[in-house]
């Protein structure tokens, strides 16, 4: 496997009127070529901030990257000049599928105009790109592509427009796509189609995807590996099947228990997501953790490897076979 992206010890803070929000705290992750990594966590866990930090588009001046390194294809993105980053990285080697397609497409221009802008910027041969574009749309199950390209965003359904967004993200032939909750606003039936298409594109084109979602079931369907985040910290990182069969972190286990289950028992985590201006000392999950010990309050756990590719940030991770999911089924 070729390592495509490596993020190490990434810490991002936001300056606000009420204090400094510690949005990301020493986040580590890696992504190989042709791999789908799902970033799972509740709102406010820092998923989107992480995606933005990789593109180095953290809002300025309130947001700042305190420390850390982002290596993409062996180059450090944070040290790259702004012009160079615009020329070769943003929208070129790394593209984005947005969460809300209607909020992201320009309502004043037809989709054709907007898609053509992408390859105008890359100064490739127009006619060839046009052919490529129509081919791509057909691949994405948008049959009458020619007609759709003359339409404005509001004339399309949510599913069609999200497919357009996927097309836009694929056109520059990127190596990495950051998909920020791309199916949250869609119906389950359309969601299933979109997930299938993303998976298909990954297989055919060997592109890597960083898939941000709060839905564990969606993550399990699309990803090769899952990274569970909580309050700006990585809690657990493992191959997808392992996360569900050998869940190690108490938070990840709690999260699995929250999912609706056939028996109809409802469990919740209890407590609230902490305020990141004053995050809990030590492990940020300890106030809500049933297994918390004094050491969890005093010392921040680091990511430790407990099996091949399986990393946990917890002082006493569960032993194998304690997954709520396997117990249930």
């Amino acid at each position: 496997m070729v390592r495509l992206l490596e993020v190490s010890e990434l810490t991002v803070h936001f300056e606000t009127d009420r204090g400094e929000v510690q949005a990301l705290d020493k986040v580590n992750l890696y992504l190989d070529k042709g791999e789908v990594l799902a970033l799972v966590g509740e709102s406010g866990s820092g998923k989107t901030t992480l995606g933005r930090a990789i593109l180095n588009v953290i809002p300025f001046p309130e947001g700042k990257i305190i420390e850390g390194r982002i290596l993409f294809q062996g180059r450090s993105l944070l040290e790259m000049q702004e012009e160079e980053c615009n020329a070769v990285i943003r929208g070129k080697a790394i593209t984005l599928i947005p969460q809300d397609p209607f909020g992201s497409a320009n309502p004043l221009f037809t989709l054709g105009t907007q898609l053509r802008d992408i390859f105008k910027a890359s100064r490739d041969d127009g006619r060839e790109m046009e052919k490529k574009m129509v081919g791509l749309l057909t691949q994405l199950q948008l049959p009458d592509a020619g007609e759709l390209l003359c339409k404005y965003p509001h004339e399309l359904s949510g599913g069609q427009l999200q497919r357009m967004m996927i097309a836009a993200s694929l056109l520059p032939a990127p190596s990495l796509i950051i998909a920020d909750e791309p199916t949250t606003s869609l119906d389950v039936t359309v969601e299933a189609q979109i997930l299938y298409l993303i998976r298909k594109m990954v297989k055919e084109r060997g592109v890597s995807v960083l898939f941000i979602t709060h839905n564990l079931a969606v993550a399990s369907k699309i990803s090769d590996r899952i990274l569970v985040m909580y309050a700006g910290q990585v809690m657990e990182s493992s191959p997808t099947s392992v996360l569900f069969s050998e869940t190690a972190h108490p938070y990840a286990r709690k999260l699995l228990e929250c999912l609706p289950n056939p028996e109809g028992t409802i469990k919740d985590i209890g407590g609230m997501v902490p305020n990141l201006i004053n995050p809990p000392k030590g492990c940020r999950f300890h106030p809500r953790c049933e297994e918390a010990e004094p050491s969890c309050v005093s010392k921040r756990p680091t990511l430790i490897q407990i099996a091949a590719d399986h990393w946990v940030s917890c002082h006493n991770p569960a032993r194998k076979g304690q997954s709520p999911w396997t117990e249930r089924s």
Binding site: D187, T189, V218, W325
Partner: protein, 335 residues
């Protein structure tokens, strides 16, 4: 909906009494007018729906966006007037009532909006929003308004001093609690919940579902639970109605519908729900295409253009509703 009354069974029994019944309920919106202002095309948002709810039931209404779930809910609350058919609440046809009495009915039927963040007045403190329904309906004497609001706020799990805040100061989960509190201050008997957990994190979704169950037991409520999330509906409801393009294609007890879906649409809808996939198993069975434009409902069975096993008859004749042995109603030519 569901079971027919057994012969000799008293319909007036308090436990078994139908609280809500709809008969061939239809709502068409004009979508195009001719030059002389006559309506020439109709958008059939709700097209012939029969439902029956008993006291204490939780009816889950599921379907894709555009299937008419919200229009149905608004008909039931009396916000829309039906084009045809009737809604009976405790055996009273609500659309026959004079408007003054209709307003009185809203004490009994409450609607919880899909997006509580925007259904509260941003300029009002929550206290005022929660007291307003009590004042309008003169439900309790003036001196007791504060007491009632305090009770309900505690019931939905908010702090007493939360009512002096503005709606934007609450998180998504808290806003849902507020919306529930506003619905509950009038002590209704039926609550229509329009997508009560959409857009929430799983952990917050779980707390809201728990709260809904608790409130139902405490206040003896009947819910109509509109959702596109079949997993949530499975947990919450005892009856399900699956809607497609304005009509109910399959309905009946939750267990039988979700464990053994018989209508092809229900089957495909269930297959599309993302589940934690067992090791290595990958299925790519899903429904093709998208829900058609409602101004242009296909002839015959409305699902046939997307149905995997549509035959010739499906495009010509619309299937009648049949009642199967396990109490489910289905509208498909195969049965």
């Amino acid at each position: 909906m569901g079971e027919l009354p057994q012969p000799g069974e008293e319909r007036t029994e308090s436990v078994d009494r139908a609280i809500l019944r709809t008969e061939n309920l239809k709502k068409y919106f004009p979508s195009k007018r001719s030059f002389f202002g006559q309506d020439v095309r109709w958008l059939k948002a709700v097209d012939g729906i029969d439902l029956e709810l008993k006291e204490g039931d939780i009816l889950g209404i599921v379907g894709e966006s555009g299937s008419g779930k919200t229009t149905l809910a608004k008909l039931i609350q009396g916000i829309y007037r039906p084009t045809e058919g009737a809604v009976y609440f405790k055996d009273i046809n609500i659309h026959d009532l004079p408007s003054r009495q209709m307003r009185g009915l809203w004490r009994e039927i409450q609607y919880v909006y899909q997006n509580p963040g925007v259904s509260f007045d941003p300029w009002w403190k929550v206290e005022r929003s929660l007291e307003e329904p009590l004042k309008i309906h003169k439900a309790v004497s003036k001196g007791e308004i504060k007491k009632r609001v305090g009770e309900i706020v505690a019931c939905v799990g908010l702090e007493q001093d939360h009512i002096y805040r503005y709606p934007h100061e609450f998180s998504g989960g808290q806003q849902r609690r507020l919306a529930l509190a506003r619905a509950l201050v009038l002590r209704p008997s039926l609550i229509v919940l329009d997508e009560p957990t959409s857009g929430l994190d799983v952990s917050i979704q779980a707390t809201i579902l728990k709260l809904l169950r608790k409130l139902r037991n405490e206040f003896g409520l009947t819910y109509i639970f509109i959702s596109h999330d079949l997993e949530v509906v499975r947990m919450m409801s005892n009856k399900i109605a699956v809607m497609y393009l304005g009509a109910v294609v399959e309905s009946g007890p939750t267990e039988s519908i979700l464990l053994k879906p018989k209508h092809h649409y229900t089957q495909l809808l269930l297959a599309a729900v993302p589940r934690i996939r067992p090791l290595g198993e990958e299925t790519d069975v899903f429904i093709q295409g998208e829900i058609p434009d409602r101004g242009d409902v296909p002839s015959g069975c409305r699902f046939w253009p997307r149905c995997p096993s549509a035959s010739e008859i499906c495009s010509k004749e619309s299937p009648a509703i049949k009642i199967l042995e396990d109490g489910r109603k289905i509208s498909c030519h195969e049965f």
